[in-house]
Symmetry: C2
Subunit: 201 residues, 2 copies
């Protein structure tokens, strides 16, 4: 594992100390058609929680049935030390919204979610954000990618943001520090196998 090793020729001329560079906010994108995009993001969130961070998960999907396992574990962790967890999903209407999610206007629900995330970023409400499947409302034109990019660039403090979903916009890739593409090499459903308990949910 070469992690932590630094090529002396590659130390940035940014005037920061090593310690300061360890506290920079990271924007990560997990994209591509393979599995593991969200799962790896939740694994990172688990680690952040363990560091005492305030984790906020925002699921930008209407049906969240495949994330019940993660949600259950995080709700459990949220009750314990060291960190805290908030888990919000669009599927049932955002929890902070007074109204139920409007079945007829997913675009508006997605925009409401983004406005709330933006507000929290500006207020530094969390240390670690998972914007799960956030690439889709951007792809569908519901949320303006330039607004997302500008908000991410200008967010205060050291808040980390992880965005998941296929087909990440090139501007999102551009603004991100860490981009991983998950590629499907082989999938059991390709040969007609069913989703497995403990694997898919």
């Amino acid at each position: 594992m070469p992690q932590g090793k630094v090529d002396p020729a590659n130390i940035p001329d940014d005037g920061l100390t090593t310690k300061q560079r360890r506290l920079l906010p990271i924007t990560a994108v997990h994209t591509g058609p393979g599995k593991g995009k969200s799962t790896a993001a939740f694994g990172m969130a688990m680690r952040a929680w363990n560091q005492g961070m305030k984790v906020g998960v925002f699921q930008f999907v209407k049906s969240a049935k495949w994330k019940v396992g993660e949600e259950a574990v995080f709700r459990r962790l949220g009750e314990l030390e060291p960190g805290s967890v908030e888990w919000h999903k669009m599927g049932e209407g955002w929890s902070w919204a007074k109204k139920q999610g409007s079945d007829e206007d997913h675009a508006q629900d997605a925009r409401d979610g983004w406005e709330e995330v933006k507000r929290r970023l500006m207020a530094e409400e969390h240390d670690f954000y998972v914007l799960d499947e956030f690439t889709y409302p951007i792809k569908w034109g519901w949320i303006d990618v330039d607004d997302v990019v500008e908000t991410l660039r200008n967010r205060p403090g050291t808040q980390h943001v992880v965005i998941t979903g296929r087909d990440a916009d090139p501007k999102l890739i551009e603004v991100a520090d860490l981009v991983t593409e998950m590629t499907k090499i082989k999938h059991p459903m390709d040969v007609g196998r069913k989703g497995q308990k403990g694997i898919e949910w």
Copy 2:
């Protein structure tokens, strides 16, 4: 998400019911040079734990310093319902071994680890195994890939196994049901940034 949807032309002629096909053991491999291989495996293990499964994690690396966050969370979960967690690492000598890990013979330590995993698989001691960074001792010729493949093929019951690490042997890919490659598109350390608390550990 097309998960759970079945192409009727693609239902296997295996004589199994849908329910039986939902209880098949899965062998998954997370490989490639990108991040998220282990993190996604631990995320799956978290889900398996939530399903009440007995999770066994086996870390086939000498230095495990980058997995302390996951280990801490899993130890925490291991004390709670619904599932159970055992976390074993080669780094300090396998916990079941009487002796400390031999600094001079990593190959033997890796083989000892595999023999124990094999024994547990035959005894069905866990429901969900993470063999973290297991591709490396195979790649280095310390563990015979044919033995691994045969053991995985012949394991009893419905035990799931997830293997992580770069450069997975083609025979491992062949025996796996689910293979995902993580590709690095962009990494902050490429531009001289340091590992971040809550991101790398």
